[in-house]
C-alpha cells in the first residue's frame, strides 16, 4: 500500500542522489536496484530468500565443526523436521503475533492434520489418497476444527481463549488415545503412504532413507505459506488484525467485525498447523497421540515469542534456531560437559553429578526462562516487527512521539 506513494515521491530525490554518487561502482548500483525491486516484489524476495537458505544450509554442515556432529544426511533430515516447526511457528504467529490472541492448544490442530493424513492414506482405513491433495484436506479439516473451537470462545475476552485452547490441546490427544476403535489408541496408526514425486527428477515414492525430497518439499510448503501469510498481513484483513490487537473496541467501532476477523486468524493459524501435521505424518509414516502433547504447543509459542511476534521472518528464524538447539545443541553440550569429568558432589539431600546430567531434560526449563525474560526485558522478540516494538514499549510520551513520526512520514 505504501508502494504507490513511496515509489513516486522519492523518485526525484533518488535521481539527484544517483548523480551525486556517480562514482559508485556499478555493482553497488545493481545491488541497490535489485534491493528496490525485491522490496516491491515481496513474493519473489521470499522465494529467493528461501531458495538461497535452502541451498546454503546443507553446505554449511559440511564445514567443521558441524561435520563432526553428524553426516550431511542426518542434518538434512533434521532440517526437514525443523521445517515442520517453522510451519507451526509462522502459523501460530498469525494468531499470537498478528491478531494478539493466545492459542495454547496449537498442537491439537497439528494432531488433527496428522491424523487426517493417517485416515486418508493408510492401511488402517484402506484409503490411499495421494500426499499433495491431502495437504489441502488436512489444512481444511484443521481450519474447520479451529472454527468449531473459536466460534463459541472468541466472543469472550482473550484470556478465556487461552484457557479453552489449553484445554482443547489437552483433550485432543486424550481423544485420539481413548477412542481406540477409531485411532488404534496408544499404538497409533502406522504404515502411512509415502508422498510421490510422480517421476519428477526420476523420483517416484519418497522412501524412508533419503531425506532430500522431504527437505525440498517442506521448503516448498514453507514458501507457499510465507507468500500467503505475507500477502494476508498487508491486506485489509491483516490491517484489521492489527487494529483488533491494538484496540478491540476502537476496531469494532470502525466497522470491523471483530468476531469473524479473529475467527479468520484463528482458523488460518489452525490450517497452517494442519498443513504441518500432514507433512509430519507423511515423513514419519506413523501417528500416535503422544507426539502432540502440550510441549509442542509450548515450543511453538516459545519460538514465536523469541523470534519476535508479528515478524514472519523473525519467527521462522527463531523456530529454526530453537529447533536446532534442542535437537543438536543440547546433545552436544551434554557430550561436552561429560568430557570435562566434573566429579559428583552432594548438595543437601541431592546428589549432583554434572557428568550424568541430561541437558535435553533442561530444554523446557530453558524455554520457560526464555519466555519470562523475553517478556520482561524484550517483549518484541529478538527480531521484532517495527509496529510490535513500538506497541510493547509504549509509554504515553513514546506514544506521542511515534504519532509525531507517523505525521511526519
Amino acid at each position: 500500500m505504501s508502494d504507490v506513494s513511496g515509489g513516486q515521491k522519492p523518485a526525484a530525490g533518488a535521481g539527484s542522489s544517483r548523480s551525486a554518487r556517480s562514482a559508485a561502482s556499478p555493482v553497488r548500483v545493481a545491488l541497490g536496484l535489485i534491493g528496490r525491486y525485491l522490496g516491491k516484489h515481496q513474493s519473489l524476495a521470499i522465494v529467493l530468500g528461501l531458495a538461497i537458505t535452502a541451498a546454503i544450509l546443507p553446505l554449511i554442515v559440511l564445514l567443521p565443526p558441524l561435520n563432526g556432529f553428524g553426516t550431511q544426511k542426518d542434518f538434512v533430515a533434521g532440517f526437514a523436521d525443523a521445517g515442520v516447526f517453522v510451519l507451526l511457528a509462522i502459523g501460530l504467529n498469525v494468531v499470537v503475533g498478528f491478531a494478539g490472541l493466545l492459542d495454547l492448544g496449537y498442537a491439537a490442530f497439528f494432531a488433527i492434520g496428522a491424523y487426517t493424513y493417517a485416515y486418508g492414506a493408510s492401511p488402517f482405513t484402506g484409503l490411499d489418497i495421494p500426499f499433495w491433495p491431502m495437504l489441502l484436506v488436512g489444512a481444511i479439516v484443521a481450519a474447520m476444527f479451529g472454527v468449531l473451537l473459536g466460534a463459541p470462545t472468541l466472543r469472550l475476552r482473550g484470556d478465556y481463549l487461552a484457557i479453552v485452547t489449553l484445554g482443547f490441546g489437552e483433550i485432543v490427544p486424550v481423544v485420539f488415545l481413548n477412542a481406540d476403535t477409531y485411532t488404534r489408541g496408544t499404538n497409533g496408526i502406522g504404515g502411512l503412504s509415502q508422498p510421490s514425486a510422480y517421476g519428477l527428477l526420476g523420483l517416484q515414492g519418497f522412501g524412508f532413507t533419503n531425506p532430500w525430497p522431504y527437505f525440498v518439499t517442506v521448503v516448498l510448503i514453507i514458501a507457499v505459506a510465507f507468500i500467503f501469510l505475507y500477502r494476508l498481513q498487508d491486506s485489509r484483513i491483516g490491517r484489521a488484525w492489527v487494529a483488533i490487537r491494538e484496540d478491540e473496541l476502537a476496531a469494532a467501532s470502525m466497522g470491523i467485525n471483530t468476531i469473524t476477523t479473529k475467527l479468520l486468524a484463528f482458523s488460518i493459524g489452525a490450517s497452517t498447523s494442519g498443513l504441518a501435521g500432514v507433512f509430519f505424518a507423511a515423513k514419519l509414516s506413523i501417528v500416535s497421540p503422544d507426539q502432540f502433547g502440550f510441549t509442542v504447543s509450548f515450543t511453538a509459542l516459545a519460538m514465536v515469542v523469541l523470534g519476535g511476534m508479528g515478524n514472519i521472518w523473525g519467527v521462522a528464524v527463531g523456530a529454526f534456531v530453537i529447533y536446532e538447539i534442542q535437537s543438536q545443541g543440547l546433545k552436544q553440550l551434554g557430550a561436552f560437559v561429560q568430557s570435562l569429568h566434573v566429579p559428583a558432589f552432594a548438595l543437601g539431600p541431592l546428589n549432583v553429578d554434572l557428568g550424568s546430567v541430561n541437558f535435553i531434560n533442561y530444554q523446557y526449563l530453558l524455554y520457560g526462562l526464555a519466555l519470562v525474560l523475553m517478556m520482561l526485558l524484550r517483549p518484541e522478540g529478538l527480531f521484532p516487527s517495527r509496529r510490535r516494538r513500538s506497541e510493547l514499549h509504549e509509554t504515553p510520551e513514546e506514544a506521542a512521539e511515534s504519532n509525531e513520526e507517523l505525521v511526519q512520514a
Binding site: G100, T153, L156, V174, L301, P349
Partner: protein, 355 residues
C-alpha cells in the same frame, strides 16, 4: 487505566447458592448411585442395599476431591479478581506444595500412619504450616519478579509470562527432585468413623473439614478485615483504591500469598489422600481448578469453592459410570459449555467482560 467494564470482584457469603447446592448434592448422589448399579458386574447381583454404601463412599470421595480443586480454584479466582490475570503457574504451585510436604514428612522420617493422636496433630499442623508458608512466599516472589512489571503491559505479555513460570516450576521439580512418581507418607491412619448409618474415613473427614475451615477463614478475612476490604476495593477499582490510601503492591502481594498458600494446603492434601505426587500433576489439576473457578463465576470466592466441588462430582460420576478415562474431556466440555451459555458462572453475579 482505560475505561473498564464492571470488574469481577471478590464477593461475600450468600446463603441462596447454598440452598441450591443441597438440591444439586441430592441429584449428584442419585446419579452416582445409578452409575454404580448400571456399571455393576451382573454376576455379583448387586442389590440397592448393597449399592448404597458404595454410593456413599463415592459421594464422600467426590467431596474430598472437590475440596482439593476448590482450594486450588480459590487462588485462581482471587488472582483473577484482583489483577485479571489467569495465573497459569497456579497449578504448579499446588504441585510444588505437594513436594514440600513430601520432603518434610520423609525428612522427618515418617513413612506410614501415625497412631499417636497428639503427634499426628502436631505433624499435620507442621506440614500444613510449612507448605502453606513456603508456597505463599513462592507466590509472592513470582508476583514480584514476573508479574508486577507487566501490570500495565498488553494483556498477552503477563499471560505468556505465566505460562513460562509454570514451565519453570514444573521443570525445576522435574530435573532437581524427581522425574517419576514419588510416594508420599500417608500419615493419617486408615480409620473408619461410624455415625449411625453414615460412615466416613478419618482422612476424608479431615480433608473436608480442613477445606471448609480454610474457606470460612478466607471469607471472614476478605469480608471482615481491613486488609480484606483493601483487597476487595483493589479488585473493584485499582486506581480509586490507591487514591483512598490502599497500598496496591502490598494488597496484590497479599492476594498472591493467600492464593498460593491455599494451593500449598491442597498440595499437602494431595499427598495425604492419594499417597503419591509427580512433577506434572499441576497442569491438569490447574486446568480443572480453573474450570471450577469459571464454573463458579471467576472472581467470586464462594463460586470457586462450589465450582471445585462440582468438578469433583463430575469426575467421580464419570468414573462410576465406567467412563473414567473421559473424565478430563467431560470437565473440559463443561468449561466450554459454561463459557458459551453462561460465561458469568453458576452464581452469575459478575459480568464477564465481553469485549
Amino acid at each position: 487505566m482505560t475505561a473498564t467494564i464492571a470488574r469481577p470482584r471478590l464477593a461475600g457469603v450468600s446463603w441462596r447458592p447454598l440452598l441450591g447446592a443441597v438440591v444439586v448434592l441430592a441429584v449428584a448422589y442419585l446419579v452416582i448411585l445409578a452409575g454404580i448399579l448400571y456399571n455393576a458386574d451382573p454376576s455379583q447381583h448387586l442389590t440397592l442395599g448393597g449399592a448404597l454404601p458404595q454410593a456413599q463412599a463415592q459421594f464422600i470421595n467426590a467431596i474430598t476431591i472437590g475440596a482439593i480443586y476448590a482450594l486450588i480454584a480459590l487462588g485462581y479466582t482471587m488472582v483473577y479478581g484482583i489483577i485479571e490475570l489467569i495465573n497459569f503457574a497456579h497449578g504448579e504451585i499446588f504441585m510444588c506444595g505437594s513436594f514440600v510436604s513430601w520432603w518434610l514428612l520423609t525428612t522427618l522420617g515418617f513413612s506410614g500412619a501415625i497412631n499417636d493422636p497428639l503427634l499426628l496433630l502436631g505433624v499435620l499442623i507442621l506440614a500444613f504450616a510449612v507448605s502453606m508458608l513456603v508456597m505463599g512466599i513462592v507466590g509472592v516472589v513470582i508476583e514480584r519478579l514476573a508479574y508486577r512489571r507487566l501490570r500495565n503491559a498488553p494483556r498477552l505479555a503477563p499471560l505468556i509470562t505465566a505460562i513460562g513460570v509454570s514451565f519453570i516450576l514444573q521443570n525445576i521439580v522435574f530435573v532437581v527432585v524427581s522425574n517419576s512418581i514419588v510416594t508420599t507418607p500417608q500419615i493419617i491412619p486408615n480409620t473408619v468413623l461410624t455415625f449411625g448409618p453414615l460412615s466416613i474415613s478419618l482422612i476424608n473427614l479431615f480433608v473436608i473439614l480442613l477445606a471448609l475451615g480454610l474457606m470460612v477463614a478466607l471469607q471472614l478475612f476478605v469480608g471482615r478485615t481491613r486488609l480484606g476490604r483493601a483487597m476487595r476495593s483493589t479488585a473493584i477499582d485499582r486506581d480509586a483504591a490507591q487514591l483512598m490510601g490502599v497500598d496496591i503492591n502490598t494488597t496484590i502481594a497479599l492476594t498472591f500469598f493467600i492464593g498460593s498458600a491455599l494451593a500449598g494446603a491442597a498440595g499437602v492434601v494431595q499427598g495425604l489422600y492419594f499417597g503419591i505426587t509427580v512433577f506434572n500433576i499441576g497442569f491438569q489439576a490447574g486446568l480443572k481448578a480453573f474450570t471450577a473457578a469459571v464454573l463458579g463465576g471467576i472472581g467470586n470466592t464462594t463460586g470457586a469453592a462450589l465450582g471445585g466441588f462440582a468438578i469433583g462430582f463430575l469426575e467421580v460420576i464419570s468414573v462410576v459410570w465406567g467412563q473414567g478415562r473421559w473424565a478430563e474431556a467431560v470437565v473440559f466440555g463443561t468449561l466450554v459449555l459454561v463459557l458459551v451459555f453462561r460465561p458469568t458462572g453458576i452464581l452469575g453475579q459478575q459480568l464477564a467482560d465481553r469485549a
